[in-house]
Each structure stands twice: as structure tokens, then as C-alpha cells.
């Protein structure tokens, strides 16, 4: 359904009038409260008129954006399992890979800046401000990894911390309208393969080849193939879990934006608090704790 020009103009005029009326009512209610003191009725009137003002402003902005961009409700959502390709220097890359390089470069740059300019100014005896945050995060990660894998915790802690930082940064890239790198199966599978390598590295280092085979055929040697199969399934399961969660959140956000169309002023931000902030942090936590649990299983 395409709106006609007159309908749009009428909508704009009505919402602007309601907005102005709401503003006047809010100011009047506030001044009434200031003059005659608070009571229940005046408070409710003030709150109602404020809500009316905000609604009218949202409707006005939404109509304006919808009229300007020509997008009304009911756009189609398009998504593909693999990201689109972009051409760089005559070679095509997946868009998510390019975004991943950019994110890695930004994180490395921030690391360099922190290392060169912020850390020398840190006072080991009197921590304050940013230093407190960094120490808290690093110490929490150290304690977490040491509590899960024990002796190798100190070696694994930096990798796990950077993994978490990368996952959360890639989730934030969705806020800039990009497809996050963690919603690409190739990226998540490579992360799962790193975990697989770590599992076997620490398992072989702790026990040697014979000990590892003995641990895999623990109750009876018959289940050795099944144990090996379930070990091989670990990176796939990790990759699919992260990929499914991230692409699910992305599709839900896309659906919300497309349903709202031009009226998506401020509302997806509330949903984004869950899908772009809370959900990725939980997923990063789960990825890290599962990796550590599997490594612990291999070395104990």
C-alpha cells in the first residue's frame, strides 16, 4: 500500500499539532506542580502529556523518514546463509571476512594505543579509573580460566580474552548496519577449529599419544571410534551454535526493522539491547566456557 502525498501531509500536520499540544500541556502541568505542589492528579496529568509528546514526536519522525526514503511497511527481508562477496584487488572476498580484518585492525590499534600511551602511566600501587576496569577484567579472566583448566589456565587466558573481545566487537558491528563476522559459518568454524587444535595440543602435551588414546578408550576399547567421532564433532557443534545464535539475532532485528519501516525510530534500539549486547555476551561466555571444558576434559 503506497500512501498518497495528501495523507502524508495530513499525518505530518496532525502529529506536529499533537506534539505542540503535548508540549504545552507538559509545560503547563510542570508549572502547576511547581506552583501548587504535587498531588496524584497533577502528577498523572504531567506524565500522560509527556507520553503524548513523545508518541507524537516518534510518529512525526517516522512519517518524515518514511516519506523521505519512500519505504513504507512490509518490506521483504532478504538473507542468505553465506555473506555476499566483495571484490578487492581483483580477488573476491566474503564481506564478513573483510569486516573481520577491519575489526581486528581496530582492536590491534586499540591494543597498541593502550600499551604505548596508557599502560606506562598506570600506577601499580594506586589504581584508579580505567586501570581498575582493565585489572578487574584481566584478573576475572585469569581466575576463570585457572578455575576451569587449572595448570594451563595462565597460557589460555589471553587467547580466551581476545576471543571474547573479538566476538563482542563483531556483534557491535551490526549496529553500524554490517553483517557481523560471527554470523558467517566460515568464521565460526575457524574459531571452532582453533579450539579443536588447542584440545588436541594440550591433551597430547599432558598425556602423550598413548595416554590420549588410552583416555579415549576409557571403559572399553570398543568405543574408541565413537569417542574420536564425538571429538571431531566438537568444532562443528561450537561453530553451528555460535553461527545459529548470531544469525538468528540478526534475522530477528532485520524483521523488526522491516516491519517498522520508516517508523523504526528508537524502537529497534530497545530490542538491540538484547540481541546486540546481552545475547552476544552470553554466547561469547558459552563459547569460552565450552572450549575450556573440552580442554579440561582432554587433560584430566
Amino acid at each position: 500500500m503506497v500512501k498518497t502525498k495528501t495523507v502524508t501531509i495530513i499525518e505530518l500536520a496532525v502529529s506536529a499539532a499533537v506534539f505542540a499540544a503535548g508540549l504545552v500541556m507538559t509545560v503547563a502541568a510542570k508549572s502547576a506542580i511547581r506552583q501548587h505542589g504535587e498531588n496524584k492528579k497533577r502528577k498523572r496529568r504531567s506524565r500522560l502529556s509527556l507520553a503524548l509528546t513523545v508518541m507524537a514526536a516518534w510518529f512525526f519522525i517516522g512519517t518524515l523518514i518514511a516519506a523521505y526514503s519512500g519505504k513504507t511497511k512490509g518490506m521483504e527481508v532478504e538473507f542468505s546463509l553465506f555473506s555476499e562477496r566483495v571484490e578487492l584487488f581483483g580477488v573476491t572476498f566474503a564481506r564478513t571476512s573483510v569486516l573481520m580484518w577491519i575489526l581486528t585492525a581496530i582492536i590491534l590499534l586499540l591494543c597498541l594505543i593502550f600499551r604505548l600511551f596508557l599502560f606506562p602511566r598506570f600506577d601499580p600501587d594506586h589504581p584508579k579509573g580505567f586501570q581498575n576496569i582493565m585489572e578487574l577484567a584481566v584478573e576475572a579472566m585469569d581466575r576463570f580460566t585457572c578455575g576451569t583448566v587449572g595448570e594451563y589456565g595462565e597460557q589460555l587466558s589471553p587467547y580466551m580474552f581476545s576471543l571474547g573481545v573479538f566476538m563482542i566487537a563483531s556483534a557491535f558491528s551490526e549496529l553500524f548496519g554490517q553483517r557481523p563476522p560471527t554470523s558467517d559459518l566460515v568464521v565460526t568454524l575457524s574459531m571452532g577449529l582453533i579450539t579443536f587444535v588447542l584440545i588436541n595440543y594440550y591433551g597430547l602435551r599432558k598425556k602423550g599419544l598413548g595416554g590420549r588414546i588410552k583416555a579415549l578408550s576409557n571403559p572399553t576399547p570398543i568405543i574408541l571410534p565413537m569417542k574420536i567421532l564425538s571429538d571431531v564433532a566438537i568444532p562443528i557443534s561450537l561453530a553451528c551454535r555460535l553461527f545459529g545464535n548470531m544469525i538468528g539475532g540478526m534475522i530477528v532485528m532485520d524483521l523488526l526493522k522491516s516491519v517498522l519501516g520508516g517508523y523504526a525510530a528508537g524502537i529497534p534500539a530497545v530490542a538491540g539491547l538484547y540481541f546486540n549486547l546481552f545475547h552476544p555476551i552470553i554466547q561469547a561466555y558459552i563459547f569460552i566456557i565450552l572450549s575450556l571444558t573440552f580442554i579440561n576434559e582432554a587433560i584430566e
Binding site: S80, I247, I286
Partner: protein, 69 residues
């Protein structure tokens, strides 16, 4: 037809939801009995929920493979 298949694949979510519900109910029981152990219980519950959720996530990926062209 593929859309129906994708929808049927998502029936797996039933099992995952039931499993997560049972796990959460037990966790609530445990916290009610021993409120001081809530931190540890929370960590284990998150891990268990992630593992229970993974079946639904596999189904979701399969549904996506079926639905996306």
C-alpha cells in the same frame, strides 16, 4: 514444499524448550534450597542451557539451509 520442511525441522525447538524449562526449574529448586551457591548454579545452568539449546540451533540452521536459496 521446502517451507513446510523448514517449519517441520523447527519442531525440534519443542524438545529444546522442554529441556531448558526442566533445567531452569531444577536450578530454581537448588537456589531456593541453597541460596549461597547461586553463583555456581548459575554458571552450570548457563552451560546446560547452551547444550540443550544446541539441538534447536542445529534445527534452525537446517531450516535456514532449506529456506534460503
Amino acid at each position: 514444499m521446502t517451507a513446510i520442511g523448514a517449519g517441520m525441522a523447527m519442531l525440534t525447538a519443542l524438545g529444546a524448550g522442554l529441556g531448558m524449562g526442566f533445567a531452569t526449574a531444577k536450578a530454581v529448586d537448588a537456589v531456593a534450597r541453597q541460596p549461597e551457591a547461586s553463583g555456581k548454579i548459575n554458571a552450570i545452568l548457563l552451560l546446560g542451557c547452551a547444550l540443550a539449546e544446541s539441538t534447536a540451533i542445529y534445527a534452525f540452521v537446517i531450516a535456514l539451509i532449506l529456506a534460503a536459496k
